[in-house]
């Protein structure tokens, strides 16, 4: 029984990370109707930002450990840097083709993804870089299931960020504008909403969350490498679709669910087939609910 | 040929859009379906066209039940339709749009196109010829190689109508054909519809808001209000019918014009 509890905890922690990245996909899709494949690479650059902040602060990255305050000091600048990067990518790669078709936007996103991951490999070197760990070695046990502090920290930080986002979207003026634009672009513009600003804000928020996910993965697994964006991007995109693309709570739900499915599938069926199981579950879910769990009739 | 609608009801979730509507359309007539906004005209039209399935009731075409048939079989039941806002194949040429209209008429399998067989070439030539015939009849022949998206609005409407006619379906469903036309164009539309009925022997069922088009061209009318049939008959009777006036202009006005 404890094995099940252990797997659930692992799933929740990984799910929290997928959810944070998936939110970026869903927010961009909600407004521009295309999948921002470069989003996975922004998550990777978030992790590298944190790496440079740590080295700048003189923290011993090789096998070192950091306190919560140092983590937060690194979190803020990384999120801001990623937000800025998101806006820059939108400004140069997507704005010129905004009235083009979704297809060309998607290809431009694929191009941006190839550019970012290879530029990172060239600039930062392809080596897997060590990252300091948060709560190294501390864990508490429930029966024979052990829950490491870092797992719970990842989950808590993810939930907090999601709640903050929810509040932002629900109650702030910009949040309402984003929702308005995603519901009906033309009407929103008629109401005097500045499209460019809203779209940049969407990219900024989505990228900041991806940056947060990046730094957390960095301290959780204590290692980062330039091509980590690709796989995480595809998984998060799957989570966003599972939850119902264009729907923020859906992205959160989809992320958590995918994390749990993966860890349970990996443990109980076979670790080699873990990703295949996640995709099989996705396909079945989509055939049952063509627009995702919480998705409106948007497809 | 008889198209009859028998006690059709339709509800979207809790909202009752249509409640027990029945009427039948005689062969060769021009039949109008009118009513104020939200009366259920378009829903009924889409049920006949096969886009929606009714919650209750049936639609009979020459005695055959249509209501549960998939929508792509309407053409085989000899029912074709046009759309309120023009649905052409934008990236295909005018000629290709028409040839696709003959989709159900063409029989040769894909393999024959691969081997370029005589039979396949003959069928394609027949299709092109037939399409050109229709295009010249409706004055679009010189546009045949242009992508459909580049035609002006009026011509796109005619192209869509031509495409529906080329299917040689006995019944033609027109969804607000006069939408967006000025009175000169709607005048030409009235002659056009009459010509289709008289020369091509088609039966027309149209949904329309433009009252002077309706009154001029329709031989029989059904009026819907809040999903129910409140009147049926000749246009001149309908104009004087109390319920119709009340539905359109409200009870006070209906009382004042007591006729």
């Amino acid at each position: 029984m404890y094995l099940l509890l252990q797997q659930l905890i692992n799933g929740l922690a990984v799910g929290g990370i997928y959810a944070l990245i998936a939110i970026g996909y869903t927010m961009v899709y909600g407004i521009l109707f295309f999948v921002n494949f470069a989003h996975g690479d922004i998550y990777m650059l978030g992790a590298f930002c944190a790496f440079f902040v740590f080295t700048f602060l003189g923290i011993e990255v090789t096998g070192g450990a950091i306190t919560v305050s140092q983590f937060l000091i690194a979190l803020i600048p990384s999120m801001l840097a990623c937000a800025a990067l998101g806006v820059v990518i939108e400004r140069f790669a997507y704005r010129p083709i905004r009235n083009g078709s979704r297809l060309s936007a998607m290809i431009s996103a694929l191009g941006a993804s190839i550019f970012l991951s290879n530029a990172a490999t060239y600039l930062f070197g392809s080596q897997t870089k060590p990252m300091p760990k948060l709560f190294a070695g501390k864990y508490f046990t429930v029966g024979s299931a052990t829950i490491s502090y870092i797992q719970t920290a990842v989950l808590i930080v993810s939930l907090i960020l999601m709640i903050l986002l929810h509040i932002f979207i629900k109650h702030t003026k910009l949040g309402k504008a984003i929702r308005a634009v995603s519901d009906d672009q033309r009407a929103a513009v008629l109401m005097g909403i500045d499209m460019d600003m809203v779209i940049s804000a969407t990219f900024a928020i989505g990228s900041a969350l991806a940056g947060a996910a990046g730094i957390m993965v960095g301290v959780y697994y204590a290692s980062i490498y330039p091509t980590m964006g690709g796989i995480a991007g595809i998984k998060a995109f799957t989570a966003a679709i599972l939850g119902g693309i264009g729907n923020i709570p859906g992205a959160m739900l989809g992320g958590i669910l995918l994390g749990i499915i993966e860890s349970l599938g990996g443990a109980y069926i076979s670790f080699g087939y873990r990703d295949a199981i996640a995709f099989v579950v996705l396909i079945i879910a989509l055939c049952a609910m063509p627009t995702g769990i919480l998705g409106k009739g948007r497809s | 040929m008889s198209l009859s609608v028998n006690s059709i009801s339709k509800a979207f979730g809790g909202v009752v859009a249509l409640n027990n509507v029945s009427f039948s359309v005689e062969q060769g007539s021009i039949f109008g379906l009118i009513g104020p906004n939200g009366a259920g005209k378009t829903t009924l039209f889409n049920i006949i066209a096969g886009v929606f399935r009714p919650t209750a009731g049936s639609i009979l075409m020459n005695g055959a039940h249509l209501e549960h048939e998939p929508n792509y079989l309407r053409i085989d039941r000899s029912i074709a339709r046009t759309f309120q806002n023009i649905k052409l194949f934008h990236n295909l040429t005018v000629l290709q749009n028409i040839v696709i209209g003959m989709h159900t008429k063409l029989r040769r399998p894909l393999i024959e196109s691969f081997f370029h067989t005589k039979r396949w070439r003959a069928e394609e030539a027949m299709a092109r010829e037939r399409a050109m015939e229709m295009l010249t009849a409706f004055g679009l022949a010189d546009r045949k190689d242009l992508p459909a998206r580049s035609l002006p609005y009026g011509e796109q409407r005619i192209l869509e109508m031509t495409r529906a006619l080329v299917t040689e379906s006995k019944v033609l469903l027109l969804d607000e054909p006069a939408a967006g036309l000025n009175n000169v164009e709607s005048g030409r539309l009235v002659d056009f519809i009459r010509m289709i009925r008289d020369k091509m022997g088609r039966t027309i069922l149209l949904v329309e808001h433009d009252m002077n088009v309706v009154m001029k061209v329709c031989e029989k009318l059904v009026v819907l209000d809040h999903g129910e049939k409140i009147a049926e008959g000749e246009p001149k009777d309908i104009q004087k019918n109390r319920n119709v006036i009340e539905a359109y202009l409200g009870r006070k006005f209906a009382n004042e014009t007591e006729c």
Binding site: F33, A93, I97, N99, G100, S101, L103, S104, A105, I107, L110, G111, A112, I114, F115, N118, T121, Q185, I234, T238, I245, Y273, D275, F279, V280, L286, P290, G292, S299 | F12, A17, G38, A39, G40, K41, T43, P70, N71, Y72, R74, I75, D76, F83, Q84, N85, K87, L88, F89, Q96, I100, G101, H103, T104, R108, S113, F114, E124, P147, S150, A164
Partner: protein, 334 residues
């Protein structure tokens, strides 16, 4: 260049353009002594088949598929296993792998009946990953160890084991694919596919059975990808799961788009560009991928329809808005 001459250009170029292109392809091995160039041209031929067959799905029928490497893998593995384990000759194995590709296409076509756009895209992406993971874990495919020693095609004594012999075989298959997709485009089947792409509701109203055509578009796409798989297997004589990654599916997708979506010559040019260019730039290792990324972005900004694209992808997003407005108008409950 107004729309009138686009239509004119379409049929004139197809007659002479292809003739010249075929002549060039036939003559190239005569002048080129380096096996390396012939080798790269064979790879381009296989990518042409893959990009053309994907074009049937995306360019003709408007269905996004990012899992085309999955069909390629199915074809390659079926052909390899039949030749290695069951002693089939290349030709029967090739036909069987095309049939297998067709069935895999139908299988993947089923969800395509219900799902659209990005939902379908993720399902096809999932399909590609599932195929690769199965190849990675199954005993019969020897997992990551791959299948070495796949025999080359033979006709009587003549064995296609040199680069030049496979060059002619692969380009013959490529021209077969180009001819087939070209013929299909002008047939009832092709027109039905394109009507599904442009406007499903209108197509239905004209009697086009949308589900049938969507599923068979996947079938035909899978069939030709299976052909490319069989050819690839016996050309390289060794296949392993990491040959058919998601990056390969994305690569094939980009070739089709950069060349020109919905056209016939587009995917051919795309294959030359994305399979040929990196070989030319082999000297500048990391930079060629950075350059490729930027090239893709630039092309989408200045040539949204792809280099040869006459297909009005510029109207894409406008189409989205129009389609959404129509949907509201169509189904509002009046």
């Amino acid at each position: 260049m107004n729309d009138k001459s686009i239509a004119l250009f379409e049929n004139v170029v197809t007659k002479y353009g292809w003739l010249l292109f075929i002549i060039i392809i036939i003559l190239v091995p005569r002048f080129v002594i380096s096996d390396y160039v012939v080798h790269v041209l064979v790879l381009i031929a296989l990518y042409t088949i893959l990009a053309e067959s994907l074009n049937v799905l995306v360019g003709f029928t408007g269905q996004f598929s990012l899992g085309h490497a999955g069909f390629w893998a199915v074809g390659a593995y079926i052909a390899a296993l039949l030749m290695l384990r069951a002693g089939f000759s290349f030709w029967t194995a090739c036909v069987v792998s095309m049939a297998a590709g067709y069935l895999a296409g139908l299988f993947l076509g089923i969800p395509s009946m219900r799902l659209k756009g990005d939902y379908l895209c993720i399902v096809t992406l999932g399909f590609g990953e599932i195929v690769r993971i199965l190849a990675m874990n199954l005993e019969v495919t020897r997992g990551p160890m791959g299948l070495p020693g796949i025999p080359s095609p033979e006709i009587g004594e003549f064995v296609f084991d040199t680069e030049k012999s496979m060059y002619y075989l692969c380009w013959a298959a490529a021209f077969l694919t180009i001819y087939a997709t070209g013929r299909m485009r002008h047939s009832k089947f092709g027109r039905a596919l394109m009507s599904v792409r442009d406007d499903e509701l209108a197509a239905v109203s004209l009697g086009v059975n949308i589900a049938y055509y969507k599923v068979h578009a996947f079938g035909i796409g899978g069939m030709f990808a299976g052909l490319a798989g069989a050819l690839y297997a016996s050309w390289t004589t060794f296949i392993s799961p990491d040959v058919f990654q998601f990056s390969d599916s994305a690569n094939i997708f980009c070739m089709m788009i950069l060349g020109g979506l919905g056209t016939i010559a587009g995917p051919v040019l795309g294959a030359f560009l994305l399979a040929g260019l990196p070989e030319l730039l082999r000297g500048f290792a990391e930079f060629r991928l950075i350059a490729l990324g930027l090239l893709m972005i630039a092309l989408m900004i200045y040539r949204p329809g792809g280099i040869l694209g006459s297909y009005d992808t510029a109207g894409g997003v406008k189409k989205i808005r129009r389609r959404r407005i129509e949907r509201e108008a169509d189904t509002n409950v009046t």
